[in-house]
Symmetry: C5
Subunit: 166 residues, 5 copies
């Protein structure tokens, strides 16, 4: 795999999300990788992420894209996330490039009474989005970093679980 | 992303729907964006929306399409909506353009006794269809408007939920 | 959308079905549109419909196809219908033409005791197949007819439910 | 549909299956259609059938393929069969040719106590595999035979249910 | 099927997995087939496996790939595995080559109290990964070996179940 010295990263988020995920990704990129070129777009909902990422990868020559979406808590939302996710698989295959799917499900932060713990949702979204920014950069610029982390139980959004000691 | 000065929008709705969604979309477009060219077609059911949108995007050179469908309340209808939605993902990827999926599920307006609240269904359909008309125009003509709305919890059909204050 | 003056319609049905759906479609076409060219093929089961329709649309230059299938009543049959239906979406996208999916689920005619009401199943199949023949013709020859019916709650197999009065 | 005088049939089965389905298909072909050319491959599991069939249809110029697989009885196996089946739909669309999916679900032969009736499973597999060999030959060499059987309730694996008398 | 004398195998695993599956595959290859060229990459999660495998097959000219992933125990993980698996089907069809999907579901090693038996998970992962390495080699270098094993109830991860005696 050829590593790319001057990569261009596409970031796509949604107006549906209750958290500005695109701003988080931009901030993490600027702080850590100020030399990397970034294109940031926003679409209405997560079903619109796939084709926008494909456009960034194919028309705008981005090397990788981050698809940032938030999923509602109703059963129909889970089905919609499934459709969005399959669209992202199609887009990856068409472009022959990676799209990191950064989806936060609102019910990951659901309290026992069914209400949403907004502080937890925000922290979860921060952690997942920012960690995947590094994954994206490593995929295009430093793949060996990922090989060293193989099988180490990495998690985005929550704490790493670590690898099983054999 | 290049913005398009003289866009052409495709609208496709169905004979299955109990509401004339295409007329709503046309009305919203004419009132707000009289200069935009529109092509409006109708297909039998929502499974027919995807290929008709693809035809509008590829053969008729539309810049974006709205797929307007109503989904019945039985479990099999939910599966059919899933198939229709995956077809729309395929169509987007083939055309490399956006198709906004504007689906109204009849059971969104279901009363406790299982009957449909038709006034609510109508209002819901109006709100979702008309708001997505603006999303479609912004996607092709004014993408910065969407970036400003990123992470602000926008909803179509119901009231916006707003963003989480951090 | 250019209308086609001398259309060619493909009809595909199955040996699995307990009703000769292809014969119904042929009969409706001959009675109402004797000038239209028809190609009729039969495949073993409904999972074979998609590729046969694609062959008719791409190799035999049909303008539209009807995929006529009957779905058994077991849960696995519902999953199989889902696969068949996604295959049909793929075929439409590849051909860039419509395929009307005319599926009858045996459990639509199930009595309270779980047995099948064959007379109802037959009537349902007749109504759904024959109405979709007209939809197919209108799609290729007279699309304005469909626009006039937009949002009017049309059903195939059962009575139309009509539009909501606003 | 042009019929093919000297067809070439691809047979793919699995090492996962507890029954040698490929041998059954070969035997049925040799007994009934000794003149037909056959290519037989084996893959590890049913998820590998689709791409092997595609290779036979596209690279080896087979006219049709049989995808012979056995599905375990756990819920996850049903999901895996679904994925395998969608892969087969993709392969058909890419090749523009038929692949007959001959899947036997182990729980079709489950006794009330949850154990598998191996004799029944074997008989079921024989019947389904051998009948589909004829369907494959008819599809490429004698499509009229299938049209004559349209709507007659044919089943593979169990007895035909017959058509509804109208 | 032409066998390949100097094959090149792609191995892709994840940082999500709690076991270094890539290392297991590499070890099995080196011990048994030291002459085979190997390319090993690591991606963040199992949804990223498909496009990386496609890249190895299409851009890096690998003859076959192993997609090594671990699936968490929550219901949403099962849906995600489904999406990852469909992506792998797409990648195979695009490349026209095999990708062996080696997925370990954490709940395969779940104790009655819901905790994970890590020793069992490790053994299961070893067995499944190493056996599939041989399947991959046989598919490209020695397909007759697989034909001889047709219908013999082979399992990866657990003991073979064997074929049904007829």
């Amino acid at each position: 795999m050829k590593t790319i010295s001057k990569p261009k990263i596409g970031i796509v988020d949604t107006t549906f999300s209750t958290v500005d995920m695109g701003a988080m990704a931009l901030d993490e990129l600027k702080k850590n990788y100020p030399q990397i070129k970034v294109l940031r777009h926003t679409v209405p909902g997560f079903k619109d992420l796939a084709v926008e990422c494909q456009r960034l990868l194919k028309n705008e020559k981005c090397d990788i894209a981050l698809a940032l979406g938030m999923v509602g808590g109703a059963p129909i939302d889970t089905q919609c996330a499934h459709e969005a996710s399959l669209g992202i698989q199609m887009a990856k295959m068409n472009a022959g490039k990676h799209i990191l799917e950064v989806f936060v499900h609102m019910n990951e932060s659901e309290r026992a009474d069914g209400s949403i713990d907004e502080a937890d949702l925000l922290a979860l979204t921060q952690d997942r989005t920012r960690k995947h920014v590094h994954n994206a950069v490593w995929l295009v610029c430093d793949p060996d970093k990922l090989i060293k982390r193989a099988g180490t139980g990495r998690r985005q959004g929550r704490q790493d679980v670590g690898g099983i000691k054999s």
